[in-house]
């Protein structure tokens, strides 16, 4: 069954995430990124950032929290078995550091009903504890019609 376009604009969150150094290191190693900005305390302290920072795509960790309420939304009733991650877009506005508390608010930006698939995109806006936008992520999913 097609995903109803009336859900365009539906919001998810806010959800908060407290960034910690060990998670940054775990994530960086998982994507095979040994950049000392993320892993090496001494290097990072001497860098222009003055300490460990998160890789840009660490955004998937804090903003990806929205996946659960979005995927599990009973009203939206997505056919999870038919769903694939179609596209991804990030806009990075500020550095994320250990200790930051990131709050992410999501909104269904668009739903397209095509012949064989539905395409649904979720905008996720993440702000730090100072209210500053650090990342806008757009997650686009494709759901094959059964």
């Amino acid at each position: 069954m097609a995903v109803d376009r009336k859900f365009i604009g539906k919001e998810y969150g806010p959800m908060t995430y407290e960034v910690c150094k060990e998670k940054i290191k775990e994530y960086a190693r998982a994507i095979k990124n040994e950049d000392p900005h993320y892993l090496d305390e001494e290097f990072a302290t001497r860098s222009k950032y003055g300490g460990i920072i998160a890789p840009p795509t660490f955004a998937v960790i804090y903003s990806g929290q929205l996946a659960m309420p979005f995927f599990m939304d009973p009203e939206l009733n997505l056919d999870f078995a038919m769903l694939v991650h179609g596209e991804q877009e990030f806009e990075f506005y500020d550095i994320v550091r250990p200790g930051d508390v990131i709050t992410t608010q999501g909104k269904i930006a668009n739903i397209e009903n095509k012949e064989k698939v539905d395409v649904i995109s979720l905008d996720a806006y993440s702000r730090n504890q100072e209210g500053k936008l650090v990342c806008k992520a757009v997650y686009t999913f494709v759901i094959r019609k059964s």
Binding site: R29, A30, K32, D35, P55, H85, Q88
Partner: protein, 132 residues
């Protein structure tokens, strides 16, 4: 290399091999335990021929290629892609990028991401890097 030296036409390449346990590491770090990424039997059953790498891990490799090239993780301002083809264990993901334009202190990158057979695993991949 200094960021201010970057100009249109500059290019770079990088490659990552998807080792046997990569999807397990990424599942643990990201919390995405979808069985298509961690259970080879399930992957075969749904016609994927085994487990496939998380698309966002592939995109993470691309981000690394860019930030290794420019030297400053904070200079990556935008990154986007379409997930076109599954990446499997043992594949080599290659990123080839070229600076298409430099305008208002931003370098725009056109990026090609392929597997070892030359097939594009990501399409419509682009990024912008701040040179300031």
């Amino acid at each position: 290399m200094s960021l201010k030296d970057i100009k249109a036409g500059d290019s770079f390449k990088a490659a990552e091999e998807v080792d046997k346990y990569r999807t397990i590491y990424y599942a643990g770090a990201s919390g995405d335990f979808n069985p298509i990424h961690i259970d080879p039997e399930f992957g075969k059953m749904v016609g994927l021929g085994g487990v496939i790498l998380h698309g966002l891990c592939t995109l993470g490799f691309v981000a690394k290629a860019i930030t290794d090239w420019c030297g400053d993780p904070g200079s990556l301002k935008r990154l986007k892609c379409r997930f076109a083809k599954p990446v499997h264990i043992g594949d080599t993901v290659s990123t080839e990028a070229m600076v298409s334009t430099v305008e208002n202190g931003l370098a725009m990158l056109d990026i090609k991401v392929t597997n070892q057979l030359g097939e594009e695993v990501l399409t419509m991949t682009s990024a912008s890097v701040s040179l300031e």
